[in-house]
C-alpha cells in the first residue's frame, strides 16, 4: 500500500495531466456533430498512434547487438507509423470530400 502511495506521489504531475486531459477530451468531443463521427474516430485513431514515439525511444535505446529487441522494435515502429500516417491520410481524404461542395 505504502509503495503505491509513494508511487502516486512520485508521479503527481503525470496524474494531474491525466485527470485534466480526461475532462478536456470529454468537453472537446461532446461538441462534435454526428455527421463528423467517422472522420473524428479516424482522426483520434491517428493521434493514438503517438505511441510511435515510445516505439522510437525503445528502439533507440536498444543495444545494437540485441537483435530480439531491435526486430520487435522495428515491428513496433512500422505498425505505429502505419497507424499514424494511415490515420491522418484517411481522415484527410474524408475531409477533402466534405470540402468539395463549398
Amino acid at each position: 500500500m505504502e509503495s503505491i502511495l509513494n508511487w502516486l506521489h512520485a508521479n503527481e504531475q503525470m496524474i494531474y495531466i491525466i485527470i485534466l486531459v480526461i475532462f478536456l477530451g470529454f468537453i472537446v468531443i461532446s461538441r462534435v456533430p454526428t455527421v463528423l463521427h467517422t472522420p473524428l474516430m479516424s482522426h483520434a485513431n491517428a493521434i493514438s498512434g503517438v505511441v510511435i514515439i515510445g516505439a522510437i525511444i525503445v528502439m533507440g535505446r536498444a543495444d545494437s547487438n540485441n537483435y530480439a529487441a531491435l526486430i520487435l522494435g522495428l515491428f513496433a515502429v512500422i505498425l505505429g507509423t502505419i497507424n499514424v500516417v494511415g490515420g491522418f491520410v484517411v481522415t484527410d481524404r474524408m475531409m477533402e470530400m466534405f470540402k468539395k461542395k463549398k
Partner: protein, 487 residues
Amino acid sequence: MGVSILTIIYLIAAVTFIMGLKMMSHPASARNGNSAAGIGMLMAIFATIFLFKDDTGANLKNHYWIFGGLLIGTVAGVIMAKKVKMTAMPEMVSMFNGFGGASAALISIIEFNQLAKNGFLVTLPVKVEADVSVSNDMLALPVTIGTMIILFSGLVLGSITFSGSMIAWGKLSGKVKDFAFHGQHFINMALLFAAIALSAYITANVDDLNPLWFYLVMVLSLIYGIFFVLPIGGADMPVVISFLNSLSGISAACSGFLYDNKVILTGGILVGAAGTILTILMCKAMNRSLLNVFIGSFGGSPSAGADKGGMQHKEISLNDAAVVMTFANKVIIVPGYGLAVAQAQHACRELEKILESKGVQVKYAIHPVAGRMPGHMNVLLAEADVSYDKLLEMEIANEEFPTTDVVLILGANDVVNPAAKHDKASPIYGMPILDVETAKLVIVNKRSMKPGYAGIENELFYQPKTSMLFGDAKKALNDLISEIKSI
C-alpha cells in the same frame, strides 16, 4: 539545450492534438485540424529521434533501424489509406487501430525483456542534492510496482486492442463470421480475470519467476480480445471499434507514463477520453447501455422479432416507382449499408439531380448509426457531392416524413424497423428509428428479403404502404434514372 527544445516541441505537439480534435467539430475547419495534428506528430517524431536523451544522458542510437521502420510504415500507411474505398473506411480505421495497439504491446514486451535481463533492477543516476549538474554514480534499484503495473496495462490493453480490432476488421469486411457459444461470457470474464491475476502475481513475485509467464499474459489478452469481439453483432460494431479506439489510446498513454513522456500521455489519454465519450454517444443513439452491447450478443437471437409466417410483401415495378417519384412533391431518401456496399452514392446523387430538374424536392434522412459507423453515410454522400444541408438528422427527418410523398429506402433495414418502437422482445427494442411509416408511400430497395445486419425480420416490408424494389442499389438507381428520363 537540446532537451529543452524537445520539451517545447512536445508541448506544441500536444496543443496541436487538442486543437485538432477541437477543429474536428466543424466540417469547414476539420481538415486543417487534421493537418495541424499531423504536423505536430511529425515534429514530435523527428525531435524525439534527434533530441531525446535517456536518464543517463545518452542520445538515441540505431538511427538506420528507426528510419527504416518509419519509411516502411509510411509507404504502407499511405498506400493503404489511398487505396481504400470510402465504403470500407470503418474496417480500415479498425485495422489501423489494431496496429497502434500492437505497437503499444510490443513496447511493453521489449521493456520487460530489458528488465528481465537486468534482474529486474533499474539503474538510475544518483540524485545529488548539491549544485552538481552531472553525476556518474549509478544506483541499482528494484523495479517499482508502479512500473510493473504500467508495463502490464500496456501489454494487456495493447494486445486486446490488437486482436479485437483485427476481428472487428475481419467481421466488417465479411471475412469473419459471428461466433458465439454457450457460456462464452463466463469464459471471457475468466480469461480477463486470469490475465489480471497473473499480472498481479508476476508483479508480486518478480524476483524469482520465469519471464515466460509474461508471454502467457499476452496470450490470454490476445484470446480475450478475440472472444470479446467475436459474438458481438455487426450492428454494434461501431460501438466496439470506438471502444477499442479508446483502449488503444490508454495503452499508448501507458508508454507515456513509462518514459515520463508528456506528449504520449496527453495524446493517449485524450484519445482514451474522446473514444469513451464517443462510445457512450453511440450507445445512446441506439438506446442501449454499454454493458448490454458487450454482454448481449446482438446477432445471436435469430428467432427474435415477430413471426411473419403468413404475411406477404408486394413488389413495385421500376416504371411505377419512377412515375410516383417524378410526380411527388417531396422525396426523402434513406440510405443504409446497402448503398455503401453497392457503391451507389453517385447514382444516388444523379437521381437527386434528375428529380430536382422535374421540380421534386429531394432530401436525405440520416440515422445516427446508418451504415457501419456514425457519419458513414455523410462521408459517402459528401463524396458524391450531395449538399450538406440536404442531409436531415433523425429528429428533423421524423418531423418531415408526414409531409413526404415517397420515402426511398436504399439498403437500410434495422434503422427503419418499427419493431424497435413496440416489440419488447426485439433485440433492437428502444432504439430510436426513422418513422418512415408516416410518409404516404415507402419504396424499399434491397437485394432480397433476407433480414438486416441485426438478423431480425422487419415488419415494415409487409405493410400495405410499403413496396419492394429488389436489386443491387446501384443498378436499381441507374434503371430508375433512365426510367425517369423517359417519362
